[in-house]
Each structure stands twice: as C-alpha cells, then as structure tokens.
Amino acid sequence: MPYLSDIQHRRVIEPNGNEVAKLSDLAVVPQGQFPAVQWAVLATPGGERVVRWTELAQEIGHLRLRGRLDTINDAPLPQEALRLSRDLMDKQVVDTHGAKVVRVNDLQLSEVDGQLRLVGADVGLRGLLRRVGAEGLAERVVGLAGQKLPRGIIPWHLVETLGAAEGNVRVTVPRTKLALLHPADIADIVEEMSVDERRAVFEELDVETAADALSEVDPEMQASIVSDLDEERAADILDEMAPDEAADLLQDLSEERREELVELMQKEEAADVEELLTYSEDSAGGIMTTDFIALPAELTAGAAIDRLRELQPDAELTYYLYVVDGEGHLDGVISLRDLVVAKPATPITEVMDRNVLKVDVTSPKEEVAALIAKYNLLALPVVDARRKLLGTVTVDDVVDIMLPRGWRKRSLRSIAR
C-alpha cells in the first residue's frame, strides 16, 4: 500500500517520456468513509497545475500522463476539497476511536476497485521515520533485536479533521464524527485544540452536546471558550447547562460579559443562574443546583408518579423526591422506590421520611462534602434559614472537593509547549 510520502515528489512524464512536472499534492473531497483521490497538483516549471487524477497512470518510479500536459484541461479544485499534503500532512487530527488529538506523520492510500483512496492516517513512529527516509534502516536495526516496528495507523473513517485555516480560507468540514463521542471525550479533545479550532467545534455541535461537553471542560478553559463564542450562541449553550454549572462558569467571566450573557439567556434559566451567583463560591449555595423535584404535600402517590411522567426529569434528579408545603418549605423526602411500591391512593405525606438531612445555604462546601460522604448520599437538599428548599447538591458536585489534590486533572500546558 503506498503512502503519500512515497508518491509525492515523483516525476510526472508525458507519453513520450519527457519529464514535465513533479507531483506536489493530491486532493480529495472529504466525504464518505474512504474518500477517493480525484485531483493531482503538479509542480511544473511554469507554476502549479491541477489535473484530474484519472489523467495519470502509476508506473514504477514515476507517473505517466495520458496525454501531453498542454492538451490537458485544468480541473479547478472545489472549495470543499482537501489537499492531502497542504491541509493534512503534519497537522493535528482527532482519533475518534482513541478520543485524542494526534499528529499526521503520513497518509496511507490504497487502490480499491481501481480507485486510489485515502484509507488511513499514519500517526506512529514508522511514519516519522519514513518521512526522513529511515524506515528501512530502523526496521533492520530493530529486526536485529528480534522486534518489529509498531504500526500506528488510524483508519480514515475514524479520523476527524480539524478546520485548517490556509490563506484565511476556512476549510469547513462538518464535525459529525466528533458529535458522536461522549461529551467527556469531546471535552478532552477540545482541551488539546487551538483557540480557533475550539471555537469552531462549539459553534458546530448541537446545543445540547455542546453544553454537556462544555460542562466537562477544565474551568479556566470554559471561561475562555465562552468569551470567544458569539454571544447568542454562548447564551444558548448556557441555557442548556445545569444552572449550577452555568453559574460557576459565569463567575469566571468579566462582569461585563457576564451581564451580557445573562441578559441574553432565557428568563427562567437566567433567574436561576442569577440567584446562584449571589451565593459564595465556597458555600453550599455556591455548589448547589436549582434543578430538583419538589412535590406538593397534598399529592397522592399515584398523582406524584403522573407528575414525574409529565416532567420527564433527568436521571440524576430522581435520586430523591422532595415534598414541600404551599410556601416551598421542605417537609420530607421520598425515594422513587417508595413512591412506586406505595398504593396509588396513599397520600405522599404518609410514605415520606420526615427526618430529612439538609444543609443551610451558607454552610461551607467542605461540610456538605463531609455529610454526603458520611451518610453515603447521592444528593443533599439545601435550605434557607426558614427551611425553604432552594436547591440540592449532588454527589458529582462534591467529588472534586473530596478527591486529594493530586487527583484532580491538572492542566499544565501553560508551562509551555
């Protein structure tokens, strides 16, 4: 199977054997699993010429044109075309299988049904060695030790290109493969990208995925991503995020930017976030979320289940269901299990547990973490001085506080690359 580095710079001859050019690049339209090579870029003494790949035949050591070069028409490259050497070689791409950013050392091509196709990106040591013409030598040296050089090829259908800015023309390829990854994986990948690539990704992902991924990104970087995004887009993503996470993020922005974004957010979400922003970052109020399920005390078990069906809450909200009176004061708590096994006509006040473990909104977050750890809770309600239910702190909000220092992911790129 040939590699781009093998055939690049090959001599291009006319039918009569005259050398007229060197192959300088190949181009594909990045669609389908393994895109076909459709154009060849030739370096001629008179400058660059783009011809159809079908005008060339591969022969040993060189490429032969089917006709004289001056009789062949130029085939202009469409906007969406990718030039393999210029746009991909040595660039960073995403390995969507391993969910990480890697660098392309070489590109693997293969003849499939009579068509040369781009089948893989070589990101391994072999590719590097081949580029400096030392692959054979290294292979022999390693062979002496009875070993083999490992191959590091990612099949092309698992590769996602990052938008390449070349001559200020953005090659935009929809990042569909990226959108299929787990948001946490997207976050990891995004942390490796440059500012522009990052912005492009968050502009293109659907709002929900973007919000999930943004929640997983390192806090410092979150702020810079949101500052770079278009305001409307940023507000849309913030709307989708859990209010506590949106509030944490907004906290890191400049006052001006924060005000702008909150103004643009939807009323309900904005109100939640603004409320959260008033609490100190280190208190229960600062880490709680205002998303929780509060059931009015007068409901029966059956009516409560109907209510849940209507609300269709996220999984992490259904750990505990809180029972509140007309003024929103916390009266008790019911587990989903208790609710389901109770007879439909039973008032929920009869099945609820009146001894609710709760914390005051001003308690320090370490205390909240300690309580959750001690009683093995999944969530803990947060109330004000008058026992009014304000929010809940879930276990994932306190994991960071409980982990020892070194466990937290450290972003250390700032001491240079």
Partner: protein, 425 residues
C-alpha cells in the same frame, strides 16, 4: 423573547461608566506572559553571566545589553503575535510549516540549548548552597529528586509561587544601585558601542546575547500566550505586556552589571565562584551578602530546573504528536516522561563530575544558547513573515528588518566565536 427590555439599556449605561476601568482590567487580564517571561529570563545563567561581565569588563558591554534587550522585545513580540494569531505553539508551527526534517533540526537545537540550561540550573543550585557550606554531592541529587517529585506529585503553580518569593532576593541589585551611587556619566559611556576584539570579550558578548534572548524563552512566551487564550482584540495589550517584560529583563540585567561593575571591577575581583559574585552585594547586605545572593540564585535555579525540562518535553512532544502531560504516567506518555526525567538526571550528573567548576559551566551553557539562537531566529522570522501563517498579522517591514538585524547580530557573534575558537586550537 429574551432578556429584559429594561435590563438591556441599563446594562449599557453601566457599561459605559465602566469602560475606563474595563480597559485597565483588560490590560491586567492579558498582562502576564511577557512580564513573567521577563522575570524568568533572570535564571542562574542570567545572573551569573551579567555578574561576570560586570566584574570583568565594567560597563563596556552595556551597549550590547541595550541592543539585546531591544532584540528580545522585537522577537518576543513576534512570538506573542504568532501565538495570538494562530493559537498554536512555536514547535507546532514549525512542524506544520516546515515538515519533519526541519522539525527534527529545530528540536535537536532546542534539546541541546535547554539541556545545557538544565545543567546550568543545577550548577546554580550547587553553587548557591555551597556558599552555605553544603557540598554539591548532597545538594544536587536532593534537588533533582525534589524537582522531579514536586512536578509529578504536586501542583506546579504552588511550587512556582514559592520559588518566586526566593527570587525576590535579587531586588537587592536595584536597591544596591541606590546605595552605591555609581558615577552615572561613566556608566552611560558603556552605552557607546565598541566592537569586542579580545577573544574573552567576544565569548562574553555571545553569552550575553545567548542569556538575554534564550531560545527557551521564545518557545515559553508563545506557549503562555496560547494557553492564556489571548484574543486578537486584546493584541494591543499583549504587545505592551511583551515590551514591558523585555524592559524589565533588560533593566534587571543593567542593575546587575552596574552593581558588579561598581563593586567588583575596580577591585579586580573576577567571578570564579558564587561567593565572588555575592561580594557585589556586600555594600548593601554586609555579612549577609552571601546568604542573600544564595537565596536568590537558589530560587532562580530551582525555578529554572522545574520549568526547563517540562517546557522542552512539551515542545518536543507537541511537534511530533506524542502524548504529553504531567498527570500521565510512563505508560501513557512514555516519551514525555522519559524526556523530562532524563533531562533532570543528565543535568544533575554533569554537575557532579568530580572537579568541574560551576561558574564556567554556567557560562558555557549561555554560549551554547548564543550559538544556537540564530537557527531558532531564522525559523521564527520565516514564520512571522509568512502570510499563509500569519494572515493580516504578518510582520511589517520595520519589524522584519529589526528581526533580521537581531538574527544577523546573533549569527555574526556565534560565527565569530566559532572562528576564533577554531584558530585558537
């Protein structure tokens, strides 16, 4: 309907009132990379080289320091602009623009330059604690192991802050200038260029340029700009930050040369050990001069020993696409961790070679940096003048001319040095 109808104009009013404060806040937000890099330049190599130059040549090389500081500002500005425009680190850009072969050359240069810097840092550590009577066979292995485990197991930011406090000991130089009241007309006469003719002046001229415009600093600068995510809108602030940083670096070097040139040069004291260099602080600190100098040198060297191997490993892994990151282990990021560990181990080992003298070792490292600097400068200039890479932020004519001027100066100094040492043997 989004947002409140009233909230919006109110917000706008408040914003207008805040604008002035915001401009300053925006400056503070961008401030950092340049100024921090300016301080970081004063590591073991810098202090030792400037002290030796002041002691040996008085003020006569001040003009070169002036030129080198301007050069530092010009080149750093290019790196900062490249970081802002492309959002990519320097090694990243070199790889994408010049391909594998040139990248290997650039990275070899970086490894040699930074490797010799690591040696210099450990020499600085050894020299500073020898003032306090601790032999290097004890201090160096402890420092190497300490640095390694600090980086691997603890927070880098914490270490950085702690060491910065030690480095503040070098504030002793500007304060000394106030006490010493040097003869300013004589000092300023050093700003008149005089071409170094004696071989030793040439050597120190090269070391001065090498330590002022360290290749490492250029990579570091661009990386911090990228990491900070400085936007194109705040590029103007970033420029101020860079020039401020270069000015700080230049001023600090200036103070060191003025102090050593006033105290050591007339007394004929040459800097052959850290104690000699510390003598310059005696008028200020008396008996405590040694302790003061040792604290500063030790802090600066440790800081360098932490940052240098890390920054090198990041740059190299980025260029070749290898996994990098401190929170990864040897299996996840084999090249990164091995490089980092090896550089520390090698740096420490060289210093422990029996009978090796520390000050010449530190100076040699700066010479190595000076010799290699032109190669990195060519890469930087080629990138910064490339419209494909830089778009509208491409170098202007004046910047380009200044940049090539710096490269020519650095190039002729290193060629002159190589030429001279060739004929000497």
């Amino acid at each position: 309907m989004r947002g409140g109808r009233i909230a919006r104009p109110l917000g706008a009013l408040r914003r207008r009132a805040n604008r002035r404060r915001l401009a300053f806040a925006a400056f503070l937000a961008v401030l950092g990379p340049g100024v921090i890099t300016g301080f970081a330049g004063n590591e073991a190599g810098g202090v030792t080289t400037y002290s030796s130059i002041g002691a040996q040549f008085g003020f006569s090389l001040l003009w070169l320091l002036f030129v080198a500081s301007i050069g530092l500002g010009v080149i750093q500005e290019m790196c900062s602009r490249m970081g802002i425009t492309t959002g990519q680190g320097l090694s990243d850009l070199i790889r994408e623009r010049f391909g594998v072969r040139w990248t290997i050359l650039a990275m070899l240069v970086l490894i040699i330059a930074n490797g010799s810097n690591v040696v210099a840092e450990f020499a600085g550590i050894a020299a500073s604690v020898e003032i306090l009577g601790v032999p290097r066979i004890v201090s160096v292995p402890i420092a190497a192991l300490g640095v390694w485990s600090l980086v691997v197991f603890f927070s880098y930011r914490f270490v950085e802050r702690a060491l910065f406090v030690l480095v503040l000991a070098f504030l002793a130089y500007p304060i000394s200038v106030l006490i010493l009241k040097p003869d300013w007309p004589v000092v300023m006469s050093g700003l008149i260029p005089s071409i170094p003719t004696s071989p030793s002046a040439l050597v120190f001229a090269l070391a001065l340029v090498g330590t002022t415009i360290t290749p490492y600093l250029l990579f570091y600068m661009q990386a911090s700009v990228v990491d900070k995510g400085v936007t194109r809108q705040s590029a103007a602030y970033a420029r101020v930050d860079v020039f401020l940083g270069a000015a700080i670096a230049g001023l600090f070097a200036f103070f060191i040369i003025v102090v050593t040139g006033t105290v050591l040069y007339p007394a004929g004291i040459q800097v052959t050990s850290a104690e000699d260099a510390a003598q310059a602080l005696v008028p200020l600190a008396g008996e405590r001069a040694g302790l003061l100098f040792a604290a500063g040198l030790c802090g600066a060297s440790l800081l360098g020993a932490v940052v240098m191997p890390l920054s090198t490993s990041y740059a190299i892994c980025e260029a070749f696409g290898w996994e990098s990151g401190i929170s990864k282990n040897f299996r996840e990021a084999p090249v990164f961790m091995s490089l980092f560990t090896l550089m520390l181990a090698l740096g420490a080992t060289v210093v422990l070679i029996p009978g090796i003298s520390l000050i010449p070792l530190i100076i040699s490292a700066q010479i190595a940096n000076g010799i290699l600097l032109p190669i990195i400068l060519v890469f930087i200039l080629r990138l910064a003048t490339d419209r494909h890479v830089m778009g509208d932020a491409v170098n202007g004519r004046i910047t380009t001319v200044l940049g090539w001027g710096v490269a020519a100066l650095a190039g002729s100094l290193s060629l002159g040095y190589l030429f001279a040492s060739f004929f000497a043997t």
